[in-house]
């Protein structure tokens, strides 16, 4: 048995590892069901105790309960992050392809465009619709054809056409980056779970929003121009009393709510720490929005997991009344990671009225300061903006000015002095990436990135669930049909191949989960197809062994030469199929890639099953002195 030990260990190892990778997926399915049950119970309770409650309020409370469930048991979140992802076609959601409208961008960039330019641009845009060439190039050649130099409209007079073209193309790709940041920012604020936003080619953006129900809302997230504003941050002697009041109001409210009637909504705390619980009860706001007493600033630190809760608190009408009319609370656009590894958002109280909007920004540039080697961002404003900016900075020295894009704060630098010329330097960035991000954001104010939606696919949750059920059933039926056929035809050897088939399927699933690949409906079809094709290698081997047996070889010799003679055929045929899988992956988007991926994983897994699992079982049977008999 010793000679088999290594291979058997390997098989067990592969199986165990696959199951280990699949575990979070199983756990997540169970957790999701548990949470769903709990929430539906809560919904019933709430509707009974308070029938007039509006849908928005109800959803807020449900959201809070869900968040608190997630916090009590951190494994829920962990499992969710590591589970096998479901594609949009299975869980429902929106898939969009957006393209930067270069023509619109060029129109904005052009210096005093005349009528001729507009005509040329329009025809260039039309031509670009049917050709692969870039609008920039088409327009450039058209301008040249019209007997003009590009520098008439773009760049400076001394620049060569080629330089201008490459600069315009850079602008184009900048616009895509900008659009992606704007979309990212909005999607994060909207609270879509597991969004996927990526650049495709040079001008396209793919956005996947799982579970978005309201299309219009989603579209508003994605289109429409971004709003960049400069807002002065309130000082702590203004902010602290406001927060105190909010804390008191919330504490008083919760006391009332828990005293009155059966409502047990807010009692979401764990039993771990009584004093902490006590604190949370008395200071519902400060327990999750923490202020550093040593800091001169009154920014509240909110854990990522508590952000929703704070937002709901701030939306309550009684809390709204406590916030002065001229101020509003805004969060950081992106969290920073604390020393303990927790993602934390700062919550600022800022002037509601913007001092200035981003339209006045002419340019922004991230750089390294020559003297201090720190990353800095320089920003230029037009003359009108510069005048305003001088006034604003002059009267707000030592205060902080928040740079706000679509209601999220990207940076809040302190104004160190009056800035007269319209050219400002922002310092204090942690690294160059942060500086680059700020540059993108500042430019978003100056130059909108016009994007068009060119493809949009929405799958409702009911069709998604239906597809999951059908896919699951088909997989089961397909598996058993093939398994039964193999036993029917090959008898005992059929059982061996079924075992190998089982290992194949577990491996495919494990690898999918391990790579965090997305399972799509065509992906399930790929698994089903693999089930049918996976036995191929086994059939070739069996038939070959049978042939070898009929020539009068011993069992051992027949098994050995049966496998040896099948290698080339099995490899050649699978390599060609694998190759088409690669092409398929390149060709398709989303769902089709899921199919190609499962097909390729399936090929590798079935080869492993045939050459290792089936082989070792045969070898063991032969070693034990069994006579091999195929069918």
């Amino acid at each position: 048995m010793k000679e088999f030990r290594f291979r058997i260990l390997m098989i067990i190892g592969v199986l165990a590892f696959s199951i280990y990778l699949l575990f979070p997926t199983f756990a997540d399915i169970q957790n999701t069901n548990k949470i769903k049950k709990e929430l539906s119970l809560l919904t019933e309770d709430l509707q009974k105790s308070n029938p007039t409650m509006s849908e928005a309020e109800l959803n807020d409370l449900l959201q809070i309960r869900e968040d608190s469930l997630m916090i009590i048991d951190p494994s829920i979140r962990e499992n969710r992050e590591n589970r096998m992802k479901l594609g949009l076609d299975l869980q429902g959601g929106m898939y969009l392809v957006m393209e930067v409208n270069t023509a619109k961008l060029l129109e904005k960039l052009a210096k005093d465009p005349d009528d001729e330019f507009k005509v040329l641009l329009e025809s260039a845009a039309k031509e670009a619709q049917v050709s692969d060439a870039d609008v920039v190039e088409i327009l450039a050649s058209k301008i040249t054809l019209a007997g003009k130099r590009l520098s008439r409209y773009f760049g400076s007079i001394r620049e060569e056409d080629a330089d201008i073209i490459s600069k315009l193309k850079e602008q184009e790709s900048d616009a895509v980056t900008r659009a992606i940041e704007i979309i990212n920012n909005r999607v994060n604020q909207y609270g879509v779970s597991e969004p996927n936003i990526q650049k495709q080619g040079s001008r396209r953006i793919i956005v996947e929003l799982p579970g978005i129900a309201k299309e219009e809302e989603a579209k508003r997230l994605l289109q429409g121009s971004a709003l960049l504003e400069f807002k002065i941050v309130k000082e702590s002697n203004f902010t602290i009393p406001v927060m105190n009041r909010i804390d008191e109001i919330l504490a008083a409210n919760f006391k009332n709510e828990s005293d009155s009637s059966s409502s047990n909504v807010i009692d979401t705390t764990s039993t771990s720490d009584l004093t902490e619980e006590q604190f949370a009860k008395e200071h519902p706001f400060y327990s999750i929005a923490i202020i550093n007493p040593q800091s001169p600033y009154a920014d509240a630190y909110v854990k990522e997991s508590d952000k929703n809760k704070v937002t709901t608190f701030l939306r309550r009408p009684e809390v709204k009344n406590a916030i002065p009319d001229n101020a509003e609370f805004l969060f950081d656009a992106k969290p920073f990671t604390s020393q303990e590894g927790v993602n934390i958002f700062r919550l600022y109280l800022v002037n509601k009225e913007a001092e200035l909007t981003g339209g006045v920004i002419v340019d922004a540039m991230a750089n390294i300061d020559q003297q201090t080697t720190e990353p800095i961002v320089t920003m230029q404003m037009n003359s009108e903006g510069a005048r305003e900016w001088a006034r604003i900075t002059g009267s707000n020295i030592d205060k902080r000015c928040a740079i706000v894009l679509d209601n999220a704060i990207y940076s809040a630098p302190t104004i160190q002095g009056k800035i007269p010329g319209g050219s400002s330097r922002i310092t204090g960035m942690a690294d160059m990436n942060e500086a680059k991000l700020l540059q993108i954001v500042l430019k978003a104010g100056a130059l909108p990135a016009p994007v068009d939606i060119i493809e949009e696919r929405t799958v409702g949750p009911s069709l998604g669930q239906d597809s999951i059920n059908k896919g699951f059933n088909s997989t089961m039926i397909g598996f058993f049909l093939v398994a039964i056929f193999m036993i029917f035809y090959y008898k005992k050897s059929g059982v061996i191949s079924d075992l190998a088939l089982f290992v194949t399927v577990i491996m495919i699933m494990g690898v999918l989960a391990g790579f965090q690949a997305t399972l799509t409906l065509p992906g399930i079809a790929g698994i089903i197809l693999t089930i049918g094709m996976a036995v191929d290698a086994n059939v070739i081997i069996f038939e070959r062994i049978r042939e070898e047996l009929t020539t009068g070889k011993t069992s051992k010799a027949a098994v050995d030469s049966g496998f040896a003679n099948s290698y080339s055929a099995i490899l050649d045929s699978n390599i060609t199929t694998f190759f088409t899988g690669i092409i398929l992956y390149q060709f398709g988007s989303g769902p089709i890639q899921g199919f190609a991926l499962t097909l390729m994983i399936g090929i590798v897994a079935s080869l492993f099953s045939a050459f290792v699992v089936t082989r070792v079982i045969f070898d063991m049977l032969v070693a034990k002195g069994n006579k091999i008999n195929i069918g």
């Binding site: 392809v97 619709q129 049917v130 309201k214 299309e215 219009e216 809302e217 939606i453 060119i454 493809e455 949009e456 696919r457 929405t458 799958v459 409702g460 009911s462 069709l463 239906d466 597809s467 059908k470 896919g471 059933n473 088909s474 039926i477 397909g478 049909l481 093939v482 056929f485 193999m486 029917f488 035809y489 079809a525 089903i528 197809l529 089930i531 049918g532 094709m533 191929d536 059939v539 070739i540 038939e543 042939e547 080339s568 055929a569 050649d572 045929s573 390599i575 060609t576 199929t577 190759f579 088409t580 092409i583 398929l584 390149q586 060709f587 398709g588 769902p591 089709i592 199919f595 097909l599």
Partner: protein, 375 residues
């Protein structure tokens, strides 16, 4: 079980029969491609697809008549997922300009129907959304709930302004809600594809299939002899052509079987190419082996014996794969039906062609050139 035990058929001598059969099928396929053509889905044409599921069974022709009155031109209506589901399709991307003012007027009318005293004005209208400004916030709140109940998708610009989405899909859906008030429906899926994507996809599809064939040609050329590679690719070409022909011949003929060319059908064709080559390679592998062992035997005998000895394997593996794609065809739902059909039919043709097209091709070549193949 022992089926085809000691099979000994002279396939090569009977190849002419196969040529005739293949010829007829290819001719039929080409004819239907020329006469009926293929039906392309919106993936390729651009347009809008909406799948709806009603609570109760519906009457398709009634829906067709209702939608004709919208003035949106041709809207196709098909069944989708049982008798209470429909698939609507239009090639339009958005509501045509000449209908748009009617649309706004109708929304305005329904707002006034809810709240006759409302003071409203259109504050903005874009290609797929219109914004109404309300003088009073309380009225706006009430109207928004009612609009949502009626199935409009709304959102708030600010307290006074409500944005109402009027994409072409919403308009069609709205019409169905008002003409069939008792039969509620949910939107199963909604796809909009721009015309540019479609034309790119066409190009990509052709490129991928050609690339796959080319890759196989080169790989098999290396592993076998070039004539084998050409034989295999000819067989694949044969499979794809005949399957395409069937798509042209049968689209719109069989109810509940939607045979339009979509991305997933193209994926099925690529898979078919990858799968169908398997059988061919197995036979070729055996021919190669036979030629190595029986150096003196004629090529005809070597090919015949290779086909005969691999026949059982060919049939069994095709059967197991047929099982699963048939399961997919029957139980996989509408989304995968075209995909599963392409594979089911393709596997049948592919199995046939690896025996009756690919190997005879090699034989013909050897016959004509009088060259001796050696490995």
């Amino acid at each position: 079980m022992k089926v085809f035990e000691n099979l000994n058929i002279d396939f090569i001598s009977k190849r002419k029969i196969a040529y005739v059969i293949s010829g007829i099928f290819i001719l039929l396929g080409l004819l239907s491609l020329a006469i009926r053509g293929l039906e392309f889905g919106i993936d390729f044409k651009g347009g809008t697809d909406i799948a709806l599921k009603f609570d109760d069974p519906i009457n398709i022709s009634e829906i067709r008549n209702n939608l004709e009155q919208l003035g949106l031109g041709n809207i196709e209506v098909k069944t989708f997922g049982g008798e209470s589901g429909i698939l609507l399709r239009t090639e339009l991307q958005s509501i045509p300009a000449e209908v748009y003012s009617d649309v706004i007027a109708e929304i305005k009318n329904s707002i006034l129907r809810y709240e006759p005293a409302a003071v409203i004005s259109v504050s903005d209208s874009a290609i797929n959304a219109v914004t109404f400004k309300f003088a009073e916030i309380s009225v706006a709140n009430k109207v928004e709930t009612k609009l949502q109940n009626d199935g409009y998708q709304t959102s708030r610009l600010d307290d006074n302004n409500i944005i109402i989405r009027v994409g072409i899909a919403d308009w069609i859906e709205g019409e169905l809600r008002s003409t069939l008030p008792d039969n509620h429906f949910v939107i199963q899926k909604e796809d909009h594809v721009g015309p540019k994507i479609g034309s790119e996809l066409k190009q990509d599809s052709v490129i991928s299939v050609v690339l796959a064939l080319l890759g196989i040609l080169i790989y098999l050329g290396f592993r076998f002899k070039f004539v084998f590679a050409i034989g295999a690719v000819v067989a694949l070409f044969h499979d794809v052509l005949i399957t395409l022909g069937v798509f042209a011949l049968l689209h719109g003929v069989i109810p509940n079987l939607n045979l339009e060319i979509s991305i997933s059908v193209v994926a099925a064709f690529l898979t078919l190419v990858g799968y169908s080559i398997n059988d061919t390679v197995i036979v070729f592998d055996r021919i190669r082996e036979n030629i190595k062992i029986h150096k003196t035997a004629s090529i005809k005998d070597n090919i015949n014996s290779a086909i005969n000895s691999t026949m059982r394997r060919t049939i069994i593996t095709s059967l197991t794969t047929l099982f699963v794609v048939a399961v997919l065809l029957i139980f996989g739902g509408d989304v995968l039906r075209g995909f599963a059909f392409a594979l089911t039919f393709g596997i049948l043709v592919g199995t046939y062609s690896s025996v009756f097209v690919a190997s005879p091709f090699v034989y013909e070549y050897v016959q004509r050139t009088k060259k001796n193949i050696q490995f």
